[in-house]
Symmetry: C2
Subunit: 710 residues, 2 copies
């Protein structure tokens, strides 16, 4: 198995000194470990402290890998790309949190160039190349180049523009980023201040930053790497402001990378965490009357003529929503990846770690056996699977929306927008909190960079803010919910994920039939409770808004916005539960795989029910007794998950390289590895720390403190 091979390599790098390592002070204990190196190595290649855990799994892990990845092909390709990255020393990342900002950035440039070299050399497919970049696992300019710059030109450029710019971008002859947000303007794109004023004399646009707050701020890849950007600016022609449009602007010389005249460029400074997103050059950009040819306005939807007339094309604006759906579905997919990595680390280490419970000095109890640990960790494990499957479904939805858009059928667009926006908001918020919860579930050691969890958290949390702040997105969902409720009376049937709202008569008065804990294993019971809760919360909000009769509707919406957020979340949780139930209804091959997914589906649903019990009780969907039964069943499900937990995270099929966590090692051999990692810290380069003679010795020796002056 390649995992064994990978571990061996890791051990080699760890156990034999390298040029950078030899500078470090090595205590006697470590030297002894080293002298036993080769013997130790053999033992370690075979050791599996989690073997007993793997033996208790009641399902076929290889088949679960297929269910998780989506297909046998997907498992195979991911496996190959993960191995390619893990075995390549250029992609090493275990020292990343110790690099200075400049070293880290240079390392990112190096990895990006090397990844490109490998992609070209091995003639990788697009799918393979995407996976390879994912496993390199270091944010960098290429993410924006491929993820935002190229799609923006594809989506908003005319065929001619695509023909001109895309080949350059595909070959990296230009490097592009996406310059939208400004220092003073984030969520509200219509508030952007940068101007693009058409000058008919020269047939050019003049791009300008009129205020400090109009400085472009945050775009990834902008600060140091990009040569070009799609810049969003207010289009002004014939003295009139036509609002925000995109423009392709060259920023740096293709000869020496220096900023072009009138362009001020820089990095916006350090961000959360060490390593993490600091590999990215999020940038600041100011324009001082920079001129670009007219044909660098992205003109698919509207254009400015040679004379300066603003005209719309016949391409419908709705086409742009396709891109938004695409980007957000990929964010949901990323959420399940990030969450599953954190859960994988926490589950494995909870099986390794022992605390309390020993009698007379005997072995302590595995932390994973504690009900408190299970009740915090297993819902997150279930959520990882839930998000994975709803992500798969979103991917299908994107294809569906695209086909409909091409046929100029916009009927499902609003519903698709609501569900992608809402799923983006819910999955990213939950994932951010869950990574931190997993860190806490690892006890003190989770706080060490070597656990991988601090960096995973710090690099993940911006997902709650970018591509639509989660609160703003949920309010958009709520707005569509309110509109749908208001149309129910007129008999308009809601579609897609809102179809359940058509059952308003039934759902407003139904009562759950659950009378035993086992009854909660029935997916219909769960589905109905979640539908009734979501609908009743939406209807309550709508009534409260309309009751605020003296006010205009907008003010009522604004007053009730905290409740609307809760209603939107209930609607989105229903979608996640529904898609998980649908998944489990499908045929799923492999011994025991379906049963495990059924258990996880129930864990997810009943955990949400317990967590939001107030919603279910307040709307009268269930009784307190039924709530208590759900909680009882949840406890039984945890017991069912317990022996399968390690195998359920093995099914994610992550390499030790990708996990990047000493605590999450596949072999569970955590403590020697933690001990080894410690000595790599720069502070351990010397026994006596720098500063001892100036700042410690004078104290201890009670000498006059001689402090250097500033």
């Amino acid at each position: 198995m390649w995992r064994g091979g990978s571990n061996t390599r890791t051990c080699k790098r760890r156990f034999f000194s390298s040029p950078t390592r030899s500078r470090h002070h090595r205590p006697p204990y470590i030297c002894r470990l080293h002298s036993r190196g080769s013997q130790h190595l053999k033992a370690m290649a075979e050791v599996d402290h989690l073997a007993a855990e793997r033996a208790t799994a009641r399902f076929d892990v290889e088949e679960m890998k297929v269910a998780w990845a989506g297909s046998r092909h997907a498992v195979h390709v991911a496996d190959r790309m993960a191995r390619l990255v893990a075995s390549d020393p250029v992609f090493r990342k275990d020292n990343r949190t110790m690099l200075s900002r400049k070293e880290l950035f240079k390392d990112t440039l190096r990895k990006a160039a090397h990844a490109w070299k490998r992609i070209v050399e091995l003639r990788l497919t697009e799918e393979e190349a995407d996976l390879l970049r994912q496993y390199v696992d270091q944010p960098g300019y290429v993410d924006l180049h491929w993820g935002m710059f190229v799609p923006a030109i594809k989506g908003q450029g005319t065929e001619e523009q695509q023909h001109k710019w895309l080949p350059l971008a595909y070959k990296f002859q230009i490097i592009g980023c996406y310059a939208q947000t400004e220092l003073g303007h984030g969520s509200n794109v219509q508030g952007l201040e940068t101007t693009a004023t058409f000058d008919p004399k020269t047939d050019e646009f003049v791009i300008h930053s009129p205020t400090l707050t109009s400085s472009k701020w945050w775009p990834g890849g902008l600060g140091k790497a990009s040569t070009h950007a799609v810049v969003y600016a207010r289009l002004i022609t014939e003295g009139k402001d036509y609002g925000i449009h995109g423009f392709i602007v060259q920023l740096r010389s293709l000869e020496d990378h220096s900023p072009l005249p009138g362009v001020t460029l820089g990095d916006i400074g350090g961000k959360f965490g060490s390593g993490a997103y600091n590999s990215m050059d999020n940038g600041v950009l100011r324009f001082d009357h920079v001129r670009i040819p007219r044909d660098q306005m992205l003109m698919r939807l509207s254009q400015v003529t040679r004379e300066g007339k603003y005209v719309h094309s016949n391409v419908p604006k709705q086409l742009l929503y396709g891109t938004m759906v695409y980007v957000r579905q990929s964010i949901v997919a990323d959420a399940s990846k990030a969450l599953s990595r954190a859960v994988c680390i926490a589950v494995r280490y909870s099986a390794v770690r022992k605390q309390f419970g020993s009698q007379d000095g005997g072995p302590e109890t595995q932390v994973l056996n504690y009900k408190t640990q299970q009740s915090r960790l297993f819902p997150l494990l279930a959520s990882a699977y839930a998000f994975r499957f709803v992500g798969d479904w979103l991917n299908w939805l994107y294809t569906d929306v695209t086909q409909k858009l091409e046929a100029k059928d916009f009927s499902t667009l609003q519903e698709a927008h609501a569900c992608t926006a809402g799923l983006k908001a819910v999955t990213t918020s939950v994932t951010a909190d869950a990574i931190e919860e997993c860190r806490k579930l690892c006890g003190g050691h989770g706080y060490l960079n070597s656990s991988g969890l601090p960096e995973l958290f710090a690099v993940y949390v911006p997902a709650c803010t970018y591509e639509g702040d989660n609160v703003v997105l949920l309010l958009q969902v709520a707005r569509i919910l309110m509109k749908t409720v208001s149309q129910l009376a007129s008999g308009k049937q809601p579609v897609g994920t809102m179809a359940y709202m058509g059952k308003v008569q039934y759902l407003m008065q139904c009562k759950s039939a659950v009378s035993s804990a086992e009854d909660w294993l029935n997916p219909d019971a769960i589905q109905e409770a979640f539908e009734a809760r979501a609908l009743r919360m939406a209807v309550n909000c709508a009534q409260n808004i309309s009751q605020a009769a003296s006010q205009e509707e907008a003010a009522g919406f604004y007053e009730r916005s905290p409740d609307l957020l809760e209603a939107a979340v209930a609607h989105i949780q229903l979608i996640i539960v529904t898609k998980f139930i649908e998944k489990v209804h499908q045929e799923i091959p492999g011994h025991g795989v379906k049963e495990q997914l059924q258990a996880l589906c129930n864990v997810y649903a009943l955990y949400i029910l317990h967590k939001h019990l107030g919603d279910f009780l307040a709307t009268g969907c269930i009784t307190p007794r039924q709530g208590a039964l759900a909680n009882e069943q949840l406890g039984k499900l945890y017991a069912q998950v317990r022996p399968n937990a390690v195998a359920l995270v093995d099914a994610f099929n992550y390499t030790d390289h990708y996990l990047g966590s000493v605590l999450g090692r596949y072999d569970g051999d955590v403590y020697p590895a933690l001990y080894e990692e410690a000595w790599k810290d720069p502070l351990n380069e010397t026994v006596v720390p720098e500063g001892y003679h100036e700042y410690l010795r004078p104290l201890i020796k009670q000498q006059q403190l001689k402090l250097s002056r500033l």
Copy 2:
């Protein structure tokens, strides 16, 4: 006003180049700002973008400062110490997240030595010195020296031992730390593996680390700074293991700081965040048969005689609990500090930041006006005040417990233990989550290090784990709750914060009389609902445990532990609400101060009620209608807090230096400061980044990629 002065100084440092700054690339825009420097300075010293916010406050901010700090004297001393630190260039911390680990550690040594110098020079009192260290705001070895090493000797050492060791520690002739946790052992102190074996031949203890997992791991100050440690080890004499005891062990030479023979010492490596807790040398320590004189065992409670006999002294063991109560009450006080800092930043920036809501290009709406922002932020503002006041009360409780212990009255010890442990758990968990929530409430810019929030979060979160993992502590609370419930039948009256449980007859069947939203402003209505909820949850748990009749009680407790955690939280939230209500019942001078605190108290209570609505409904303490009325009242309270919000965070009286946040600036002049900060990043030292020639140019120029080999 000194705040103005402080800002002026900050501006000076910011606007005139210093030797370190001149290396940095300055774009033309910045140069222009600089050339306007002196003019700009004057303007900035007077600017107050939040003046309008401050003018709307309906209370006396100076008097609120007194209510927050506890006394006029406390305001005065804190003010003086904060100013002392903020004005001293050695204590500068705005560049902290950019320092390498070694630079940061050296900077910490420097600050500690300088602080000590100032303390000695100015003959500061203990109160002043503590405050000064607090405002220096950088974790370091002195925290453990004063906070753990000295108290351990005071609490566990004999008078003779105190006489010998304390004077050395007081003068820093020795630097001490507290070496308890081990690589494989955290929460369960009884599981520690380090041994201290008495050798009667030489009258010495032999300290030894028998396994890898017995390595001391985590103690702050251990890795690089300490010369001594209180080491916890299994005492073995005459072949018998007497369990864990403390020993004073010298670790490093007082001459050259090198580790003594048999002692292996190092730092355990980087931790969460940049800056943050990386200033601390959390350490690893291994002993290879290290010998110490017998009289370095801390012998207040038990001793080993010259012959090797283990004997107990007549000092009751309970005395040690006093220290635990002390440490935990200080953690609660720290929680209110950390939370209030985050809230201060988020409230001020929410008043500065504008998004959406403009009509036809007019000014956008302040984010603080949005109900969704208020509903997330104001409960945290209220929590900061709630934690502050419950912390004050805990401080009183500590004094009370100490006096009772000295009189050998142990009657309230268990209850005091439950409430300090529980308050530690709840306030730290809430604060950790709340700092991150405040960061998100600042939008994208909260992700920048210059916002101060990433570092505040990273440095704070270990509080959830150290001095008792929060889950372990809550289970201890639950255990005492279950014991108290079981004794109710026998007529034993619970004391202190558990006294309400004596009203079991009434509280098990009472129904809330609330019939309008305003009724929820009545503290009795709140108090009763919270008491009934806490008691009913505890009684439910007790019944469920005893119903598991076939099992032994311990197994029942274990099975129900997730529910027990919830019951413990309900009990602790009741304490916080009760102490806030009691505070508001006191006489509080100052125009409008009491009214504001009343509003915040209600916000806190009704927010908790809404958040945990399921508890209140499931136990039948309130009806769904009453729950909806509470939520309605909460919305009205937010409107009441809104005009006072900025003044309510001004009352924390934090300097810009202590806040350490560009977003939280007192003057609200955020955007120019953010822009200035960006250019300080090392990446901006050059226009063209390092690595361009190796890794970017070859791509752009389509040259053969020449990548350096490993």
